[in-house]
C-alpha cells in the first residue's frame, strides 16, 4: 500500500507538472475552462452524494456514478475547449445510466442524441439525426439482439 501511495503521489506530481510544462500547458487555459473544470468536479461530487436520496432510481447499482458523470460533463461543456470530450463522455454515461432500467432503445437514443450535440451542423439539420437514430436502432437490434443474443431489456422495466 505504501508503494501505491508513493507512486500515486509521484504520478499526481508529474501530471500536475505536465499541465504547466507540457505541450498543452495550463497557462494557455482560459479562465472559463478552469472554472468549468472545477465546477464539473464539484457538481459531480454533489450529484453523486445527493442523487440517491432524491430519486431511488439513482440508488440502484452504479446509477449514482452515471448521473454524476452526466451532470459533471454537462457542466464541463461550458468550456469551449473541453466541449467535445465532455459531450462524448456524457453520452457514454447516458448509455450506462439508461440501459438496464430504461431499456436498450432508450439508451441508444439518448447516446446518439447527446453525442450529436457535439456536431453543431446537426442542430441545423435535425432530420439527419432522426434518420441516424432510426437506422442505428434497427441495425443494433438486428446485430446485437437478434444475431448475438445479448440479454438486455429492450423497453423500460420501471
Amino acid at each position: 500500500m505504501l508503494a501505491f501511495v508513493g507512486l500515486t503521489g509521484i504520478g499526481a506530481f508529474v501530471t500536475f507538472a505536465a499541465f504547466f510544462t507540457g505541450p498543452n500547458p495550463v497557462g494557455n487555459w482560459s479562465r472559463r475552462n478552469l472554472v468549468s473544470l472545477f465546477g464539473a468536479i464539484i457538481v459531480s461530487a454533489f450529484v453523486y452524494l445527493v442523487s440517491p436520496s432524491v430519486l431511488p432510481f439513482f440508488g440502484i447499482g452504479y446509477n449514482a456514478v452515471g448521473i454524476a458523470i452526466v451532470a459533471g460533463m454537462l457542466v464541463l461543456t461550458l468550456a469551449p475547449d473541453l466541449r467535445f470530450i465532455a459531450l462524448i463522455s456524457a453520452s457514454v454515461a447516458v448509455f450506462g445510466l439508461l440501459l438496464e432500467q430504461i431499456g436498450f432503445f432508450a439508451a441508444l437514443t439518448g447516446t446518439i442524441l447527446l453525442s450529436c450535440a457535439a456536431e453543431r451542423e446537426h442542430f441545423r439539420k435535425p432530420l439527419g439525426v432522426l434518420g441516424l437514430i432510426v437506422f442505428m436502432l434497427a441495425l443494433c437490434w438486428w446485430v446485437f439482439i437478434l444475431q448475438l443474443d445479448i440479454r438486455v431489456h429492450l423497453w423500460p422495466t420501471i
Binding site: 498543452n24 448509455f95 450506462g96 438496464e100 441508444l108 446518439i112 441516424l132 446485437f144 440479454r151
Partner: protein
Amino acid sequence: MQFLIENLAHGFTIAFAGQNLLFALLGAFIGTAIGVLPGIGPVATISLLLPITFGIPPTTAIIMLAGIFYGAQYGGSTTAILLNLPGEVSSVVTTLEGYKMAQNGRAGAALATAAIASFLGGTVGTLLVAASGPALSAVALSFGPAEYFSLMLLGLIVASVLAQGSPIKAVGMVILGVGLGMVGTDVQTGQQRFTFGIAELSDGISFVAIAMGMFGIAEIVLNLERPEARSLLKTKVGSLWLNREEWKRGTPSAVRGTLLGSVLGILPGGGAALASFGSFMMERKMSKGRHLFGKGAIEGVAGPEAANNAASQTAFIPLLTLGIPSNAVMALMVGALIIQGIQPGPQMMVQQPDLFWGLIASMWIGNVMLLVINLPMIGLWVKLLQVPYKFLFPAILVFCCIGTYSISNNVFDVYMTIAFAVFGYICAKLQLEAAPLLIGFVLGPMMEEHLRRAMLLSRGDWFIFMERPISATMLAIGLVALVMMLLPAVRRGKDKALAE
C-alpha cells in the same frame, strides 16, 4: 518441408471452410473500409468487434480480426493517393508520392501499384510466418520462466525504444500499463490487489474498457476537434494498368520494401508504420528514380506499401510462436485469444493446429480477396469517403458502448471506458502514446507470472536470469537498447529521422 506443406494443406482446408471464408472476406472488407475512412484505425475497430467474436469459434474470430488488420493497410493507401489524407499511420508516406502521381493523372496506376505491392508484401510476409513459425515454436518450447521473463522484458524495452516521440514517456506508459495489469486477484495467493473493495475489479481491469476508451472514444473526440477536410481528387482515377517503365521501376522497390517490412514487422513496437517510413527513406536514397521524388515517383508508393503489408503479416510471428504481442493490434489479438480460452505461445501450434495453420492459410486467401476488393471496387471506396464523419461518430460510439457492456453485462465497464477515454484524451494532448500502455497491460501479468515461477525455481536467487544463456543474452540486448536510447547522439538521430 514436407511438414510445412502438409500443415499448410491442412490450413487451407480450414481456411476454405464456408464460415471461415466468409469471415475472412468480412474482415478484409471491414479492414479496407476502416483503412479508407480517416479517423478510425484497426486498433479501435478490433476493440469494437472483440465482443462480437465471443459468439463465433476462435479460429473464425482470429481470421476475421487478422483480416481487419492487414485489410486496413490496403485500404489506407486509397485515401492517401486520392485525397492526400492517410487512412492509416502507415500510409502517411504514400501521400507524398501517391498523391503527386494522382495529380499527374496516374491515380489508377498509383492505386494499382499500392495494391500489387501490398499483395507482394503480404504474400511474402505470410510465407515467412509459415516457414519460421514451427522452427521458432520449437526453440520457444525449450524456454523456461526465466527466458520468458527476459524475453517479455526485452519486448517492453524495445517497444519503448521504437515508440514515436519521447522514449521516457513511452517507458512511463509501459510501466503504467504493467501497473494497471496488476489490479485484480493475485493468482498465487488469492489476495485482492488495488481493487479498493470493488467487486467488479477482482478479475482485473477490463482489457476492452482500456482499448475502447483509449483507442475508440478518445480517437472520436480528437477527430471532432480537427475540422473535417476531405476534398476528392477532381481528375478521374483513370486506367489501372501500369506501363512498362512503371513496372520496371516499381518492382525492385516493392521487393526491397517487402524484405525490410518483413524484418521490421517482427520487432516489438515496430510494425507497419515503422516499415513504411523506413522503406520510403530507403527508396529515396537507393532507388534509380530517386531524382523523381517529390514529383510522383512510383518507388515512393511501391516500397512503403509492400513494406507495411509485409510487416503487418510478420507481426504475427512473435504472437503465434512466443505469445508476445509486438504492437497494439497484436495485444488486442492476445486479448481475443485469452477471452476465447486460448493461451498464445509456442504450444499453440500443437494444441490449436486448426487456428495456427488456418490463420496462416487465411492470410493468403485474404490477400487475394483484398486485391479484388481494392482494385475493381475502387469506385465503392471513393463513394464511402463521401459519408460525413458527423454521421459516423455517433454510430462508432454506440458500438463502443454496446461492445463494452456485452463483455460482462455490467455497466461498471461502461463507466470504466469513460475514465480511460478521458485519460486517453489527456495522453494524446500530452503526446503520450497509448500503444505502449496496452502492450504493458497485456504483458505485465504474464511477466509477473514468469518472474514468480523463476524465483520459485531458483529459491529466490535473482542470478537465475544471468545464469541461463538465452535469458542473459536477452537482458543484455535490452540493456544495450535502453542505454542507446538514452544516449543523446542516438536520440538526436532518431528525432531527425522522425522529423524527416
